[in-house]
């Protein structure tokens, strides 16, 4: 069951989509929503896709069963996607459908909303109508309204919802039969940014400094709302340079700290990233990618900054790069980012993108007992005195103490090349020792990287490579392919740097044909793979119009070449 809800910015599509989705989740369905919005506050065209199945879908569909058109433009833009037996919920007082189109379900959204207390609730009327069309009772949604709004507002919205439900019921009773439910216990329903925010909170992140930038602002606002209750500080810095440097100061002084941004903001953080590398200060940076260059397409998605995060920052220093693939994994992976940052005393970049950030799904609740939160600090029992922040060791890891932690022991971090004490030096010998000390940590770090997930046939003839947020879409493509080509598989990378290459080195040469699908124009991951392993994929499937792949186009590209 697929529903498109569209209108102008300011019409409140997000609220409808969210309430409707959550009501369905509470009913026990598996739900996914994605957002497509323009970089403007009013007007334009925004829409949400809602997909409802027995089990939570991993990608949205290309076609729709129901189109909720809050304005005429929505109808015009999306009617092609609506199936012949589909239905259109619209306001006949706003526009009318072509005479030939008999799919309309005219509900006087505004008039009914006005009667319930205000035009603004037209979207609540629409939710009521959709629930009725799906043959569902309004109870779960009414409960949600009561949880969401103050009593007065909730009451008005309930009236609007019921009015919509009733009006639509007169038109077609039950137009659709819902898929069966496979209720497997209560779910949580959240989007990528919320999952990352929750993961940071659950990892003991106590300081976030950032500067608003789509698509990462959701992490920022999520954590901002948790400050008093959970004892963390969220500060809007004057710019991204301040953001990264504040986080470094907080981290150096002893708390887990993070910043979040997009490519443009990360560009301003590049010097700070290098400082984290030089001072060996743990830091987690979430980079939510959107299409560039420059301001690009601010509210859309791309995987265009992989090379940037791999190579940003002057000088040579180790870093780790992990990525958000899907909600079930990203929560634990961001926790891993915090763990690696502390354990290896280095910056860890966590790559997300607009598609991941804004896609919400119903998933089983997270298991907080799986989270790691060791701080790897020097302890009083094994402290070597006098304390030296950059003590040379076999593995390159110097015991990390905090300023103020041990009486009489000062802790000095330095952005200049330094000796073991942290004092500025220029002699060639110390420089050499320090460079190799810093880089030596890469060896142990590499062993921590998770191999990519193999989904599909264990000895694939058709091998599809991917990374990051395309996971769900590519997985769906493999499911389709396996119906006709049994030996197809997806090899999907979560940890990107240091690149875990054992599995791909084994599988790629055995495959008859290989593909790498990426949301960028140049195949950055395929390039990384070639540089690191010498392996070349046969075909790159690239999309760079700011929109996510659709699994159908992946299947077509593969079949064209097989």
């Amino acid at each position: 069951m697929n529903i498109i809800i569209g209108g102008a910015a300011g019409d409140g599509m997000e609220t409808i989509a969210h309430l409707l989705a959550k009501a369905l989740v509470r009913e026990g369905y598996g739900v996914l929503t994605t957002k497509d919005y323009m970089s403007r506050v009013r007007g334009g065209h925004n829409f949400s896709l809602l997909r409802v199945e027995a089990e939570t879908p991993r990608a949205s569909a290309a076609t729709a069963d129901i189109l909720v058109a809050l304005n005429e433009e929505t109808f015009l833009l999306h009617r092609e996607k609506l199936l012949p037996r589909g239905r259109i919920v619209f306001d006949p007082e706003l526009f009318s459908l072509p005479a030939a189109d008999d799919r309309g379900l005219p509900v006087k959204l505004r008039t009914l909303a006005l009667a319930a207390g205000g035009k603004i609730m037209a979207n609540t009327v629409a939710i009521g109508a959709v629930l009725s069309v799906l043959g569902l009772k309004p109870a779960a949604a009414v409960r949600l309204l009561a949880e969401t709004f103050a009593p007065d507002t909730a009451q008005q919205n309930t009236a609007a919802l019921l009015a919509g439900h009733e009006a639509a019921a007169k038109l077609c009773g039950t137009c659709f039969t819902m898929p069966p439910k496979s209720f497997e216990g209560p779910s949580i329903f959240l989007d990528g940014n919320q999952a990352l925010g929750l993961a940071a909170l659950a990892s003991g992140c106590r300081f976030l400094s950032a500067y608003p930038m789509t698509p990462s602002t959701g992490i920022f606002s999520y954590l901002a709302g948790k400050q008093a209750e959970f004892g963390l500080v969220v500060e809007q810095a004057e710019d991204e340079i301040a953001a990264v440097n504040m986080a470094l100061g907080a981290s150096f002084a002893g708390v887990r700290a993070m910043t979040c941004t997009s490519g443009g903001g990360f560009a301003l953080m590049a010097e700070g990233l290098s400082l984290a590398g030089m001072t060996e200060t743990p830091l987690v940076i979430v980079v939510g990618m959107r299409p560039g260059p420059a301001t690009g397409l601010p509210t859309r998605s791309e995987q265009g900054d992989l090379n940037f995060v791999l190579y940003a920052g002057h000088g040579e220093f180790p870093r780790a790069v992990l990525s958000a693939t899907h909600l079930e994994d990203a929560f634990y992976r961001l926790n891993k980012a915090f763990d690696l940052a502390d354990k290896y005393q280095m910056p860890v970049i966590f790559l997300s993108d607009q598609y991941f950030a804004d896609t919400a799904r119903a998933i089983p609740p997270y298991d907080f007992t799986r989270l790691r939160c060791e701080r790897y600090l020097a302890g009083a029992e094994n402290l070597v005195r006098p304390y030296k922040r950059y003590r040379l060791t076999d593995d390159g890891l110097s015991p990390r103490a905090l300023p103020g932690q041990f009486p009489e022991e000062t802790v000095l971090a330095d952005s200049d090349e330094h000796d073991e004490d942290g004092h500025i030096i220029e002699d060639a010998a110390t420089r050499g020792l320090m460079v190799s000390k810093r880089l030596r940590r890469l060896e142990a770090l590499a062993a921590e990287m998770d191999e990519p997930e193999l989904y599909g046939h264990p000895e694939p003839e058709i091998l599809l490579l991917g990374w990051g947020s395309t996971y769900g879409i590519l997985r769906e493509a493999i499911e389709t392919l396996r119906a006709s080509h049994h030996r197809a598989a997806l090899l999907h990378f979560r940890d990107l740097w240091p690149l875990p290459s054992a599995m791909v080195t084994k599988l790629l040469p055995l495959a008859k044909i290989s593909f790498c699908a990426e949301n960028n124009a140049t195949g950055q991951f395929a390039g990384l793979l070639r540089r690191e392993t010498g392996l070349t994929v046969d075909h790159k499937i690239l999309r760079y119009d700011g929109r996510p792949f659709d699994s159908g186009e992946i299947v077509r590209e593969v079949l064209k070449n097989v």
Partner: protein, 282 residues
């Protein structure tokens, strides 16, 4: 008993006769008189000759990037409110490269003392103009002389609402030390702009140039903002020294509910403590 010598480290990379020596001595004496334990003092600095101070004073230090001394200091205050945080940097670092942070740190008002070694020149990069260089000053880059008027850090800080604003001269060490002590204990952002001769690159504002001009602003009421602003604008033949303004306002830290109680860095944590946070998504 705390002794100034306990806060000093041996070697420095400053030129003989540099004003930085007196600033360092005054700071060591101020720290000793307040008897602050070195490991509990964190000095953040940027890059420049002044910004090398963490290497020459025995306290904890974060010697970061050029222009970026204030943001880590703010972050460190959030992480651990039991640390005494000092920011020590040059005029170029504080007012040029770091100008945006300067403005916004004044607004934010974290409890930290900001000691700016204002030699009116870029020392480390060998003599280019700084934001406080005088009009007409010729350098290897400003070959026809500086054409943009100098930035007035004290007036700017006052206008932005700074609670503590002072001017000192490295040649008046006792006054400098006392002012540093006042800045260190002041609850909030405290700016001390320290006039400092650069014997190598600033041939205009020499020791003698300052010496004949500076005078103590005696009898000044440090809670009179208008009078403070007027002092901050005096420059030229007569340059007043002193605490121009000292009136606390709520600090950044005091307005953050999460900071009530034990310093954040010292609080134990378990993911299970926050597991209830996922309930809102049910």
């Amino acid at each position: 008993m705390c002794k100034a010598a306990d806060y000093l480290k041996e070697e420095t990379a400053w030129c003989p006769g540099c004003g930085n020596f007196a600033i360092r001595q005054a700071l060591a004496e101020a720290l000793a008189e307040l008897c602050l334990p070195p490991h509990r003092v964190l000095m953040c600095s940027g890059i420049g000759q002044a910004a090398k101070m963490p290497h020459y004073i025995r306290v904890s230090g974060f010697n970061g990037l050029h222009g970026r001394a204030l943001p880590p200091a703010t972050g460190a205050r959030v992480a651990n409110t039991s640390l005494t945080v000092i920011v020590e940097s040059g005029d170029g670092d504080s007012y040029g490269e770091g100008g945006n942070h300067f403005i916004h740190t004044v607004r934010r008002n974290p409890h930290l003392a900001h000691f700016v070694h204002n030699n009116q020149v870029y020392g480390l990069t060998k003599g280019q103009a700084s934001p406080t260089s005088e009009l007409g000053m010729k350098t290897g880059v400003q070959t026809g002389g500086v054409i943009s008027p100098p930035l007035n850090p004290l007036a700017l800080a006052l206008i932005m609402g700074a609670g503590f604003v002072a001017r000192c001269f490295s040649g008046e060490k006792e006054h400098l030390k006392e002012t540093m002590k006042a800045a260190l204990v002041f609850p909030g952002y405290a700016l001390v702009d320290i006039l400092q001769p650069c014997v190598t690159f600033n041939k205009l504002n020499t020791y003698a140039w300052y010496k004949t001009r500076v005078y103590p602003a005696e009898g000044h009421n440090t809670s009179d903002w208008m009078a403070a602003l007027s002092l901050s604008r005096q420059w030229g033949e007569q340059i007043p020294l002193g605490i121009f303004y000292s009136v606390p306002r709520p600090t950044f830290e005091s307005q953050l509910p999460a900071l009530e109680g034990e310093p954040l860095a010292l609080r134990p944590f378990s993911p299970l403590d926050v597991a209830r946070a996922q309930d809102e998504f049910r």
